[in-house]
C-alpha cells in the first residue's frame, strides 16, 4: 500500500478540505486565510514532490499508481500552475461570496489531474477523470452571468458525454482482455481483436481529450475561457491538460502495433493545432482568443505522444512542454485578469506606455506561446518537433512549424495594439476613449505581479533549459 508515496496528493486534498471547512467559519473579509491555507498546501506539495523526484520509480497500490518522473513533474507543474492561479485570485476573488469554495474546488481538481497523470490502471484513470472534471463544472458556474451559465452547461453536458464514452472504452478494453492494469493490457492487447482495441482506444482518447480540451472534444474551452471568471479560466485552460496528457502518454505506451495509434494521435494533433489556430484568428475577446490558443497548444502537446514509443525524446519533451506551457499560459491569462475591463483587443492599445511591465510580460507570454526563444516553450517546441522527426513522423514536424507561423498572426493582433501609442487608433470618438482609458486604468496588483513572475519563470526556465531537461529525463516506471 505505502500511502505515504501519495503524500503530495494527500496534502492537496486535505488542503482543499481545510479551505472548504475553514471558509464556513470565517467572515467574508477574512476569507483570505483560506487562500493562505491553499497556497501552503500547494507549496508543501511541490516541496514533497520535488524531494520525491530523487527517489527510484516505484508503483503504489498494487501497481495501479506510478510514482516516477512523469508523475513527479505533473505534480510540480499542476501545483505550480494552481499556485499561480491563486495569485490571480488575489485580485478577483478577495472578499467575494464564493472565495473559499473556489479554492477548495481548485485543489480538488488539481488532485484529480495529478492522479490522472499517475494512473496505471484504467479504473483509476476513470475515477481521476471524474475527480478532475466535476469540480470544473462548479468552478465555471461560479459566476452568475448568462455567459457563465451557458459555459457551465456546455462543459457539463460535454463532460457527461465524454465521461460515459471514456467508461465505454474502459469497458471494451476490459472485455477483450479481462484486465484494467496497464501492465496486463500491454501483454494481452496484441492478441485482442484489433477492431475492439481500436474502438476502445478511440473512446479513451476522446475522454482524455475532453479533459485536455483538444479536438474533437474542445467545444467547451473557448466558451468557458470567455464566460468563467479569470481565475477559473486560467485554471481550466492550464492545469487539467497536465494530467490528461501524461495519462494519454501512459495509455498509448501500452497499445499494440495491431492498431495504428500513432497516426490517430498525429492526425488529432494536426486537427487541434490547425482548427484552433484558424478559429482564434477571428476573436476579439482576448480570453476567448487565448481559449482557442490553448486548444492549439493541445495539438502541439499531442505531437510527442504520437511518437511515444519511437523516440527517446518523446517523454522529456512532453514534460518540458507541459511545464513551460503552464507558466507561459498563466502569464498571458494573468495579463487579462490584471485588466479585467479590457475585454476587447483594441482596449490594450497604449499598454506599453502606461504599464510597461505588464506589456513586457504580455509580449514574453505571447511570443513564448508562439515558440520564440529564449522562453521555455521554445525549448519544448524544439524538442517536440525533433522528437516527431526522430520518431519517423517528419510531417508532424512540418505541421508544428506551419502552425506556429499561423498562430503568430493572431498573437500579433494582440501585441500590436499593446505596443502602439494610445493615440494612433483613436478614431472611434470620445466615448470609446473614455472607456479605453478606464480599461487600462487600475491593473490589479496581484495579477500584475503574477504575470511578471510567470513571464520571468518562462524565460528563466528556457535559459536553464539544460537543467530542466536533466530533471524531466529522469527514470520512468515501465
Amino acid at each position: 500500500m505505502r500511502p505515504l508515496l501519495l503524500l503530495p496528493e494527500i496534502l492537496l486534498f486535505v488542503g482543499g478540505l481545510a479551505a472548504l471547512m475553514g471558509g464556513s467559519f470565517l467572515p467574508r473579509n477574512r476569507q483570505w486565510v483560506t487562500r493562505v491555507v491553499a497556497a501552503g498546501a500547494l507549496v508543501a506539495s511541490i516541496a514533497v514532490s520535488a524531494a520525491g523526484l530523487t527517489g527510484a520509480p516505484t508503483a503504489a497500490f498494487e501497481g495501479t499508481y506510478a510514482v516516477d518522473t512523469a508523475t513527479g513533474i505533473a505534480r510540480i507543474a499542476a501545483a505550480l500552475g494552481t499556485l499561480l492561479v491563486l495569485g490571480i485570485a488575489g485580485d478577483e476573488l478577495a472578499a467575494t461570496a464564493r472565495e473559499s469554495e473556489t479554492y477548495a474546488l481548485l485543489l480538488f481538481a488539481t488532485t484529480g489531474t495529478i492522479v490522472l497523470a499517475g494512473a496505471r490502471d484504467l479504473l483509476v484513470l476513470a475515477v481521476a477523470f471524474f475527480l478532475a472534471s466535476i469540480p470544473l463544472y462548479g468552478l465555471i458556474g461560479m459566476v452568475r452571468t448568462p455567459r457563465g451559465a451557458e459555459a457551465a452547461m456546455k462543459t457539463y453536458l460535454m463532460g457527461a458525454l465524454f465521461g460515459i464514452v471514456l467508461l465505454l472504452g474502459v469497458t471494451l478494453l476490459y472485455g477483450v482482455t479481462g484486465a484494467t492494469l496497464h501492465a496486463d493490457l500491454a501483454q494481452r492487447l496484441a492478441a485482442a481483436p484489433p477492431a475492439a482495441v481500436a474502438a476502445g482506444l478511440l473512446a479513451v482518447v476522446a475522454g482524455l481529450l475532453f479533459e485536455a480540451g483538444g479536438v474533437p472534444a474542445h467545444f467547451w474551452v473557448p466558451d468557458a475561457a470567455q464566460g468563467a471568471n479569470g481565475t477559473v479560466a486560467t485554471f481550466l485552460t492550464t492545469v487539467p491538460k497536465i494530467g490528461a496528457m501524461v495519462a494519454l502518454y501512459r495509455f498509448v505506451s501500452v497499445l499494440p502495433d495491431t492498431v495504428d495509434w500513432p497516426l490517430l494521435i498525429g492526425v488529432l494533433a494536426v486537427l487541434s493545432m490547425t482548427l484552433a489556430n484558424l478559429a482564434a484568428y477571428w476573436q476579439q475577446d482576448p480570453r476567448r482568443m487565448l481559449g482557442w490558443s490553448t486548444v492549439s497548444q493541445v495539438g502541439f502537446l499531442l505531437v510527442p505522444i504520437a511518437v511515444a514509443t519511437r523516440s527517446d525524446l518523446a517523454l522529456p519533451s512532453l514534460l518540458l512542454y507541459l511545464l513551460g506551457y503552464t507558466v507561459t499560459n498563466v502569464a498571458a491569462f494573468a495579463v487579462t485578469t490584471a485588466l479585467p475591463d479590457a475585454r476587447d483587443l483594441s482596449d490594450y492599445r497604449g499598454l506599453s506606455r502606461s504599464r510597461p511591465w505588464l506589456a513586457a510580460s504580455l509580449l514574453v507570454a505571447l511570443l513564448g506561446l508562439v515558440g520564440t526563444p529564449p522562453t521555455v516553450v521554445f525549448v519544448g517546441k524544439l524538442t517536440t518537433a525533433t522528437a516527431a522527426w526522430d520518431g519517423g513522423m517528419a510531417w508532424l514536424t512540418l505541421a508544428v512549424f506551419v502552425n506556429s507561423l499561423i498562430s503568430l498572426f493572431y498573437y500579433l493582433r494582440w501585441i500590436i495594439p499593446a505596443f502602439s501609442p494610445a493615440g494612433v487608433m483613436a478614431m472611434a470618438g470620445a466615448q470609446s476613449d473614455e472607456h479605453h482609458a478606464a480599461a487600462l486604468r487600475v491593473p490589479g496588483r496581484w495579477s500584475s505581479d503574477t504575470a511578471v513572475a510567470a513571464a520571468l519563470l518562462s524565460v528563466g526556465l528556457g535559459l536553464a533549459g539544460g537543467l530542466v531537461w536533466a530533471i524531466v529525463s529522469g527514470p520512468l516506471l515501465t
Binding site: 525524446l313 526563444p373 524538442t383 522527426w389 514536424t397 503568430l408 500579433l412 500590436i416 531537461w469
Partner: protein
Amino acid sequence: MLSLLVFLPLVAAIVLAAVPRLGDAAARWLWLAVAAAEVVLVALVWARYETPTPGRLALDEQVQWIPGVRSSYHVGVDGLSLPLVAMTAVVFLACAVYSLKEARRPRLHAALLLFLQSVSLGLFVSADLILFFVFFDLSIVGMYFLIAGWGHVNAARSALQFFLYTFLGSLALLVGFIGLYVYADPHTFDMVELIAANPLAGHGLAGGLVLAAILLGLAVKTPTVPFHTWLPPAHTDASSVGSAVLAAVLLKMGTYGFVRIAMPMLPEAWRAWAWLIIVVGIVSVLYGALVALAQSNLKRMVAYTSVNHMGYVVMAVGAAGLVASDTASARGIAVTGAVTEMVSHGLITAALFLLVGTLHQRAGTYEMADFGGLAHTAPKLAGLFAVGAFASLGLPALSGFIAEFQVFTGSIAVAPVTAIALFGILITAALFLRALQRVFTGGLHGRSVGFADLHPREVWSTGILLGLSLLIGVYPAPLLAVIEPAASAVVTLLGR
C-alpha cells in the same frame, strides 16, 4: 572574451530599459560608450586571432545548455565570422554616433539597438545551430520593434510584413536544422561536429529537402528574388538607423548562413543544386539593379541595390558549388569575394542609408524629384554620398571593387555564363550616377533651398564607415589574409 563581446550590449540594454530614471542624455552617451567599447573589444579579438586549423574555431567557448538534444552554448570565430563581427561593431558604433540627437524616446531606442547588437554579434559567433536560431529569431523581434516604434508613415504595416515574412523564413530554417540533427549520428546541433559529420551524405532526397528548407530560410532573410518583397517597404518605412542596421547586419545573417551552415554541412545537396543557386543569384543581381533604376524614391533605390549586391554573394557561393578538379583556387576566390562583399556592402549601405536619412529628417521626403542642386547647400552631404555611391557601384580603390572583382574572377572562371551579371554593375553605375545628378547637381530648386548641411555627428558616423571602405579598397591584404584560409576550407568541405 567572445561572451563578453556578445553580452556587454545586452547588459547595457537591460539597464537602460529597466531604469527609467536614467536621463535621455545619459542614455545616449552610455550607448555610445558601450558601442565604442565593443569596437575596442573587437580589435582585441582581432589581435588575438590566429587562423584555426580547418574544422576548428578560434577563441571558442563551450558550456552545456540542453544536453538532452546535444545543444550547447558554443561560440567561436574563424575567417568567415570575424570580419562580419568587426563590421557589425563598426556599424553599430556609427549608429550610436548618428543617434546622438535622437529625439524620440532615446532611452528605449538605445536599449533596443544595444539588444540588436548583442543578438547580431551572437549570431555571427554561434557555433551551435540552436544558438544560431535563437539569435536569428530575436533579431526579427528586435527589428520589428525598431521599425514599428521609430519608423515613418506606414511603419506598423511594413514592420508586420517584415515580421511575418522573416518569421516564416526562420521556421523553415529550424525545420532544416532539425533535419540535420536527426540525420547526424550521434544526434547533435553542434556546428563543428555537424560539419565534420556531413550528416546527409548519401541521402539524396532527404539532403535536397533539408537544403531546400535551409535555403528558403536564408533566402528570405538575405533576401533573394523571389523572396525579397518584404525588403523595400521595410526599408522605406524604417528609421535611418533601422535601415542601416537592417541592410548592413541583418541581411548578412542570411548570406553568412550559406557559407557557415548550408555549404559545409550539406555539400552533396549544395553541389546538386548549385546551378539553381547561381541562377537565383544572377536574377537577383539583374532584377535588383533594374528595379532600383526605376525608383524615384532615393531610399527605395538604395534598398533595391541591396537585393542586387546580395545577388553577387549568392551567385559566388553558388559558383563555388560547381566542383571540378582544376577549379579549386577559382572557387576559393569566389567565396573570398562573397565574404568580402558582405563586409563591404555592410559598411557602404549603412553609410548610404544614414546619409539618405538626413534628407527625410530635414525635408520630409525621399523623392529625388523634390531635390536639385543640393550640392550647393549641402556640399558635405554631396561629397559623402558620392563616395558611398562610387563605393557601391564598385569603383577601384574602394572596398566594393575588391569584393566584386573577386566574385567575378572566381565565378566566371568556373561558370562563364555568370558574366551576364556584369550588366548588374553597369546598371548600378547608371542608377547611382543618375541619382547623383538629379539630387545634387543642376540648379538649386525644390526642397534643396535652405537645406542644412550635415552636422559633425552625421559626418563622423558616415565618415567612419566610408573611411573603412576606402581602407579596405586600398589595402585589403589584412582582411583577405583572414578570409582566404576559411574560404578555401569551405571549398575543400564542398568537395567531399
